[in-house]
Structures are given as structure tokens and as C-alpha cells.
């Protein structure tokens, strides 16, 4: 997708009661039911991801254990029993063929999927913010150089390129590679926003005041300007996560996801697509998780944007 929502620029309107801006935003989000729903889901999945080792200890199956007794060998490895082999032993059923526990895999999958998307977001936000600030503040050839690079990266047919890059690099840590590539192609979007913002605020009084006061470049950039850009960056960061989750899943779908036997939601969905008719549960479990997470981050990100900029209420 080429569209990345651009958060509105205006700074938070100070409320009459004298509450701090972040307090105002927080109160607005708390009043938003959709945002709360999103938040609950996000917290839930983050908890699941963090406690994955504990959860799988309780159910007793590592995500890599084969269970040949749970599948029907004569029928090409279909899980035995109803609903994809759901039983007291396997809470969400088993994978066809291998008999690995779906609950354990989906729980560890949450870890990997969230890890990759959050790390990729951090990479793109960090790079985008720094370079965007530099370009916006210094202007001239710095701006020209950085802007050309951003133009260039945004003109790349990114999906083709990501697949191509990953498939020519078969060695090495796949998770880091995915993070690097997704982050590497993602930063120009945030970079552009930050650059635009930086240009508008670099001549505000407080920045000028700091400069007159003898502050150095780096200090101005990160002490004076950056705090005033937190809001749009935060919104962008929240909305980048569902995009990244989707990209990870799409890359897995096209066969260049994490390395087996590691589980990620995208990889699970890709495998289960073939089985969707014979064993719909295999498909539905990771599919639902993916859907809910994307939905939750989108809801929360939207609410955050609205809370920061109530004028463009949506």
C-alpha cells in the first residue's frame, strides 16, 4: 500500500482546566470505546507473547513437538477428532501432518509476529525521525540528499524488492533480516512527515530562543524540536505496527517469512491456506489472531490521532 495516513499537524489545544496535554489526550482516549477495545486486545496479545513460555508449560506442548498420535496418517495427516483435533490435550487442535500443538504455536507466533512488527516500526521511526529532523532543520544539500533518498525508496516496488532481497540472502538471522528490510523500506514515510513538521517549527520562537542561548545543533534538534513532534510520531508508530504485521504475513505468504520450525502468524496462515477446507480451525486460529491485532492497533491509532487533533474528529 502506498497510502500512509498523515496525522494532522496542529499541536494539542490547551484545555481550559489547565491539565497537561498528555493528560488531555489520555482522558479523550479513555472515553473512546473503540480505543478501549483496541487497547484491551493489544494488552492481551502482548501479555500472551510475553508469557508464551509459561503458557506452553501449562499446556505441556512445546511449539516444536510432533504428536503423531493426533493425526491420521492414512488420510494424509488430517488431525483426528472434531474441529481440527481440539481436545483436553490440545486446546486449539493440532497442525495437520506434524501434529504440533496449535495453541503453543499461535502463542509463540504472537511473540515473533509482534516482535518483528514492533522492531521494524522502531527502526523506521528512529531512522525516519533522525533523518527527517536533519533534513528539515538544516535544509540545503542535507535536505536535498535525504529527500532524494526518500523519493528513491518510496519509488521502489517494495514488495518485489523485499522478496528479492530476502531470497538472495538465504543465510543469517531471518528475523533481523525481516526487521531490517521492513524498517528500511518504511522509514521514508515517517521521515517525510517529520521533515515537514521540522520545517514549520524550526523558526518558532522557542527554537530561535534556544539558538540564541547558544544551544548546539544536536541539542536544538533533540531537546527543543523533537518533543514537539512526539504526537505525530506516536500516531504514526501505532499505525505502522498493523501495516508491519500485514507485511510480515504477506512475505510469509509468498514464501520468504521466518525460518522453520519457528512459528509466526503469517507463516501459520500460509501453511493453513492449503488446508482451509479440510481443517478450517487450523486456518481460523492464526487468522483470527492476526485480524484482531491489526484491528486493535488500527482502532487505537485512530483514536490516538483523534485525541491529539480533535478538530479532524472522525
Amino acid at each position: 500500500m502506498t497510502t500512509v495516513s498523515t496525522p494532522a499537524a496542529s499541536p494539542v489545544a490547551p484545555a481550559a482546566t489547565g491539565r497537561s496535554p498528555s493528560r488531555v489526550i489520555w482522558d479523550r482516549i479513555r472515553r473512546d470505546r473503540a480505543a478501549k477495545f483496541g487497547m484491551v486486545i493489544i494488552v492481551l496479545f502482548v501479555l500472551i507473547a510475553v508469557t508464551a513460555p509459561l503458557l506452553t508449560m501449562i499446556n505441556g506442548w512445546s511449539p516444536y513437538d510432533f504428536d503423531p498420535t493426533a493425526v491420521d496418517k492414512r488420510m494424509a495427516g488430517v488431525p483426528k477428532g472434531i474441529l481440527g483435533g481440539i481436545s483436553a490435550e490440545h486446546w486449539l487442535g493440532v497442525e495437520p501432518v506434524s501434529g504440533r500443538d496449535i495453541f503453543s504455536r499461535v502463542v509463540y507466533g504472537a511473540q515473533i509476529s509482534l516482535l518483528i512488527s514492533v522492531l521494524a516500526m522502531i527502526v523506521s521511526v528512529a531512522v525516519g525521525t533522525v533523518l527527517g529532523l536533519l533534513a528539515g532543520y538544516f535544509g540545503g544539500w542535507v535536505d536535498a540528499g535525504i529527500s532524494r533518498v526518500m523519493d528513491l525508496l518510496m519509488s521502489f516496488p517494495s514488495l518485489i524488492f523485499m522478496i528479492a532481497l530476502i531470497s538472495v540472502m538465504p543465510e543469517g538471522n531471518r528475523v533481523l533480516l525481516l526487521v531490517a528490510i521492513m524498517g528500511g523500506f518504511g522509514w521514508p514515510y515517517i521521515g517525510r512527515i517529520v521533515r515537514g513538521q521540522a520545517i514549520t517549527i524550526k523558526h518558532r520562537e522557542y527554537v530561535d530562543a534556544a539558538r540564541v542561548g547558544g544551544a548546539m545543533g544536536a541539542s536544538i534538534l533533540f531537546r527543543e524540536m523533537l518533543p514537539n513532534l512526539t504526537a505525530p510520531i506516536l500516531v504514526y508508530a501505532t499505525l505502522a505496527i498493523p501495516t508491519n504485521i500485514g507485511t510480515e504475513a504477506a512475505l510469509s505468504f509468498l514464501g520468504v517469512g521466518v525460518r522453520p520450525p519457528t512459528a509466526s502468524w503469517g507463516q501459520m496462515i500460509q501453511e493453513s491456506m492449503l488446508w482451509y477446507e479440510v481443517d478450517p480451525m487450523y486456518f481460523l486460529v492464526p487468522g483470527t489472531c492476526l485480524f484482531l491485532t491489526v484491528l486493535a492497533f488500527t482502532l487505537f491509532g485512530d483514536a490516538l490521532r483523534d485525541a491529539i487533533d480533535p478538530k479532524g474528529s472522525r
Partner: protein, 562 residues
């Protein structure tokens, strides 16, 4: 699936049985498992559709050397000097004359082979097929511009070391064509089975006038029963009858359909679904590639659908190979430990279960070892972890295993089995297209990998020497002996057997050699697979041909007339 389709399916199947008995009923009832054709009611006419998930890599007879398209080309587009009988089971491994009048006559102890062409052989434009056209195609297989094809001519023909193909005008002296009907091959060494060698598409005619270099691949000129009407690569190939092909000169090809359409670039799971449903035009369609294992789960529980699945033994052996040139697997003990630790049953399940895969216990497939599979180690199907641990003597191993992306389930099954004995495997899936390059670079060969071997024709000579002779190893582009297995005793034995003139004795000796190599375990055979191919309800004469790895024999396919 709705209830109505199922009922319709049942009715059609019933009609088919009645139709058969109406014919006089000499044939047995159709069945998929015993190698008999799925249905047998030959009739001329109609359109056969082939649903494919890929494009042919090469249809140019010079370059055609991978299993399904070899069958496709040889049975439909071009004829060779001799060819395999169009019959299921062991009979299919017998050869009959095709362009030639007989199976060739040899002299000088098998160093010279002479073939005579039949009368009345014509190309698609009506011009006669002459001996020089076959010579010309064999010469093309030397051209660096046209790589990828069988290399037997380069290996066997005399005085051909410096030859670079006919595209710049040079001709080869060791093939003689004294007249338009006679062709004589002069070989470096005696080749007893040269009559089998000339079944390869290298020995089909290509008229010099139609030469188009690499572009010939897109429009090979037909000497077979069909010619190319249109070929939109990756999308669609349409074949129509070659009016100049004379059935009287051809004992093998039946050429029932009037038209054959190959639809390419479809998803295999969609192809499977279409053929399971078998409605509309899909009724007269077949699958080009294997059904997916997930689709097997849809097919196996339904007897009427299962009856439409051809599943002939492929004749290939699937193996897990080692890099025997460096630690830890330069130590035969470590390789044996893997042999014992492996859970072959899990691998079997990953390969489609016992319906589709037999657990392999030797290198030579049963067809090459007298129909009987030998079992050297007698390890239980799920492995013997204790024995493996004993061989490892308290050590744990951390090794890498490279698999092709399609073999993920296989890799994971191996990984999970070996973990039980303390062998930790890191899997690297590599795309199939670069897979063999990765293995073939001896500097980069991974610790473990999967590899398969299929005999080019049914003889132990196209199997063990090709993959276990240490003298064939090359630094880059290594193939066959990818494990870099060097064993003087084995090499001596290979030379000894190849010099044998008695075929029976040679076959027995190959089986003995198999045992000997199994002791050293440069690779672990784990599966003898069947090739599962689904055909529509209105397709006739479908059976898996034993020589072409269980691929459907395109010579006998037809469609029922509506």
C-alpha cells in the same frame, strides 16, 4: 461440497462401469492402485486440458531433460529412434522401435550402433524426416547456446571432446549418415544399453532449416502426432493434430484427442479443487503436477474421487545426504547415528502417509533390486534413539540442513526426530531453482540436505555409479555425488560391474554394492514415493508410466465423447 455434486459424481461413476461392461468387459474394473489405467474407453476426438502450475522449462528436444516434460515432448511432439512401450507396470520399461525399424544393431563389441529409419516418416509440414536431422539434433546437444539437455551424447560419442555444436556450421564426424535412412553412432567405449539411450529426446529429429537457436524452445517443429498451434509461455499451449503424422508408422502413440490445451501458471491447490469437482470443462482435464498433500486429505476419504487418482510408484529414491568432506559427518559413526535417530515414519507422514509413500531402506528402489526392497539396518520405522545415542557416545551435534522450500514438512520431521538423540538441526529453506546450485558448490555444501535420484532408464547403471562414484565430483556445479563420497573399494566395484556383459549378474552385483554403501551411509534413503495425479471424470487411458517417474503417459490419454 454440496450434496448435489456428490450424487452427480456417484451417478457418473456408475455410468462408467456400465459403459465398460457394455464394451465386452475384457478389461478389469478401473482401479488406481494396481497401475492399471484409471478408465479405459478409448475414443478419438475432443479436447484434453492439462492444468499446470508451471511453464515447461524446455520443449526443445535438445534441452528437454526433466521428467514431466520429457514424457510430454516425446509422446506428443517428437519421436525418437526407440521409445518405451506405452503400458503400465514392468511392461512400460520395455523399449520398442519408434523412428527406427528395429532396436539397432551393434558392432565392435557395442562401440558402433546403426539404426535404419522407417518409410513414410514426415514432419508437420509434410517434408520427410531424414537421418541427418537426427544427427543434427544430437549435435545441438553439444552447443553451449542450448544447455540443459541430456549429456549422454557428450559422454558416449567418440572424438567429440572439442566439438561445440552445429550452430556455427561445424559437424560431428562420429555420427555418420550414409543415406537418408541410415544413421551410425561411433562411441568411445562399449555401451550395451545404447538402444535405451536413444529413447532420450536428444535422439529426435530437428530439421536444420527450422533452426532458431534458443528460440526453438518456443516452437519445436513437430515429428509427433501433434503440432503447436499457439504457445503463450507461462499461460497457454495449444496443440492440434499433425495431419502428416502417420499412425501406421507408430505403434506407441494413440493420439486420441483432437486438441490438447495446457493451461499454465495455476495454483496447484486450485487445480486439485477443480479436478475434485470435475465440473464443466474440468471433466476432461488432468493435472500436470502432483496433488498437494492437503488435497490428498480431500481425495483419500472419497472412494469415487480416489478412483480418479493415478498413483504410480515414481521409481525415485528420496534421501537425506551428508557433506562427508568435513566434520562432523566425515565420521561414518556420526552418519550412522543420524541413520538410527531419524524418524522415518514422521518423514513418511510428511510425504503424504503410507498411501503415498513407502519407507525406503536402501538406495536402489525395489524395481531395480528385483522387486524386493532390501533392509540393511532393520531399524524400527520411528528410529532407534538409544542406538543413536550410543554411537554419538555422549556427544551432541549442532548441524545445518538445507532443504528446498517445498520440503519444509520433511525438514521439520527430520529435525524433530534427530533432536531426540541430541542432534540439533538448523533448517535453511532454499528456493528450488537455486537448490542444486547450493549443493553443487563443494565449498558451500551444507552439513545435511535432501536429495533425490531417479534412474534415467531402468538399470542400476543409471543409479549407483551416478551418485556414489568419487571420481565424478567436481568443484562447482557438482551433481550426483553431492555428498562428495570417495571410497576406493566402491569405485573398484563400480568398474567391475560396468564391465560385466551378463545383465542378470550385473543387477545382482548392484544390489550387493547397495548394501556395501549403506554401511558407509553417505546418505540415508527415506522414501519411495508414488506420484499422485488427479484426472477428470471424462478422461480415459490415464496411467502413470514407470519410466517417467510415474508421470501420466500422454500417448494414451483421451477424453470421453459427450
Amino acid at each position: 461440497m454440496s450434496g448435489t455434486t456428490r450424487i452427480a459424481g456417484g451417478l457418473l461413476a456408475a455410468a462408467l462401469v456400465i459403459g465398460l461392461s457394455g464394451c465386452g468387459g475384457a478389461k478389469e474394473a478401473p482401479s488406481a492402485s494396481d497401475g492399471k489405467p484409471v478408465s479405459d474407453a478409448p475414443a478419438k476426438g475432443g479436447t484434453l486440458t492439462v492444468l499446470s502450475n508451471q511453464d515447461f522449462s524446455h520443449l526443445d528436444p535438445t534441452r528437454n531433460w526433466t521428467m514431466p516434460q520429457m514424457d510430454f515432448g516425446i509422446r506428443l511432439l517428437y519421436r525418437t529412434l526407440t521409445t518405451f512401450k506405452s503400458e503400465p507396470g514392468a511392461a512400460g520399461a520395455e523399449i520398442v522401435p519408434d523412428l527406427a525399424t528395429d532396436l539397432g544393431t551393434s558392432s565392435e563389441e557395442g562401440r558402433v550402433w546403426k539404426f535404419t529409419l522407417k518409410d513414410g516418416l514426415k514432419y508437420e509440414d509434410g517434408t520427410p524426416i531424414v537421418a541427418d536431422d537426427i544427427k543434427y539434433n544430437v549435435e545441438r546437444s553439444f552447443a553451449p547456446e542450448l544447455p540443459g539437455g541430456p549429456n549422454y551424447a557428450q559422454v558416449y560419442l567418440a572424438d567429440a571432446d572439442k566439438y561445440k555444436g552445429p550452430l556455427k556450421g561445424a559437424r560431428l564426424k562420429s555420427i555418420e549418415t550414409p543415406d537418408d535412412k541410415t544413421i551410425i553412432f561411433k562411441l568411445k567405449r562399449p555401451v550395451a544399453e545404447f538402444a535405451f539411450t536413444v529413447t532420450l529426446p536428444t535422439f529426435a529429429p530437428v530439421p536444420k532449416a527450422k533452426e532458431a537457436g534458443a528460440q526453438y524452445d518456443n516452437r519445436p517443429f513437430s515429428s509427433g502426432p501433434y503440432k503447436i498451434e499457439t504457445y503463450d509461455r507461462g499461460k497457454e499451449l495449444v496443440l492440434v493434430r499433425n495431419e502428416h503424422w502417420d499412425a501406421a508408422t507408430d505403434t506407441v502413440r494413440k493420439a486420441y484427442p483432437d486438441k490438447i490445451v495446457v493451461k499454465q501458471g495455476l495454483r496447484q491447490s486450485v487445480i486439485d479443487d477443480r479436478l475434485i469437482d470435475s465440473r464443466g470443462d474440468d471433466d476432461t482435464s488432468i493435472s500436470y503436477s502432483d496433488v498437494t498433500s492437503a488435497s490428498l486429505a480431500k481425495i483419500l476419504p472419497k472412494p469415487d474421487t480416489k478412483a480418479r487418482m493415478v498413483s504410480e510408484i515414481s521409481g525415485c529414491t528420496d534421501m537425506i545426504g551428508f557433506n562427508t568432506s568435513k566434520p562432523p559427518f566425515n565420521d561414518p559413526k556420526m552418519r550412522q547415528a543420524v541413520q538410527f535417530a531419524l524418524d522415518k515414519q514422521a518423514l513418511q507422514t510428511a510425504g503424504g502417509g503410507p498411501e503415498m509413500t513407502e519407507i525406503a531402506t536402501a538406495y536402489l528402489p525395489p524395481a531395480l533390486s528385483g522387486g524386493q526392497a532390501q533392509d540393511v539396518y532393520g531399524i524400527p520405522a520411528t528410529g532407534d534413539v538409544e542406538k543413536a545415542k550410543a554411537l554419538l557416545a555422549g556427544k551432541t551435534l549442532d548441524v545445518g540442513m538445507t532443504i528446498s522450500t517445498g520440503d519444509k514438512a520433511i525438514g521439520e520431521a527430520a529435525q524433530s526426530g534427530l533432536k531426540r538423540a541430541g542432534i540439533n538441526v538448523t533448517l535453511s529453506p532454499v528456493d528450488p531453482s537455486v537448490y542444486y546450485d547450493t549443493l553443487g558448490d563443494t565449498a558451500k555444501t551444507p552439513d545435511m540436505f535432501t536429495y533425490g535420484w531417479c534412474p534415467d532408464y531402468p538399470s542400476g547403471a543409471t543409479f549407483l555409479p551416478m551418485i556414489f562414484d568419487g571420481r565424478t565430483i567436481v568443484e562447482k556445479g557438482n551433481s550426483g555425488n553431492v555428498w562428495q563420497f570417495k571410497d576406493e573399494a566402491v569405485q573398484a566395484k563400480i568398474d567391475e560391474i560396468q564391465a560385466m556383459t551378463d545383465g542378470e549378474a550385473a543387477n545382482k552385483a548392484w544390489v550387493e554394492l547397495d548394501k556395501q554403501i549403506m554401511q558407509a551411509t553417505p546418505a540415508i534413503p527415506f522414501a519411495w514415493k508414488k506420484k499422485p495425479l488427479l484426472v477428470g471424470k471424462g478422461v480415459t487411458g490415464a496411467f502413470g508410466h514407470p519410466v517417467w517417474a510415474g508421470q501420466l503417459d500422454y500417448a494414451t490419454l483421451g477424453v470421453k465423447q459427450k
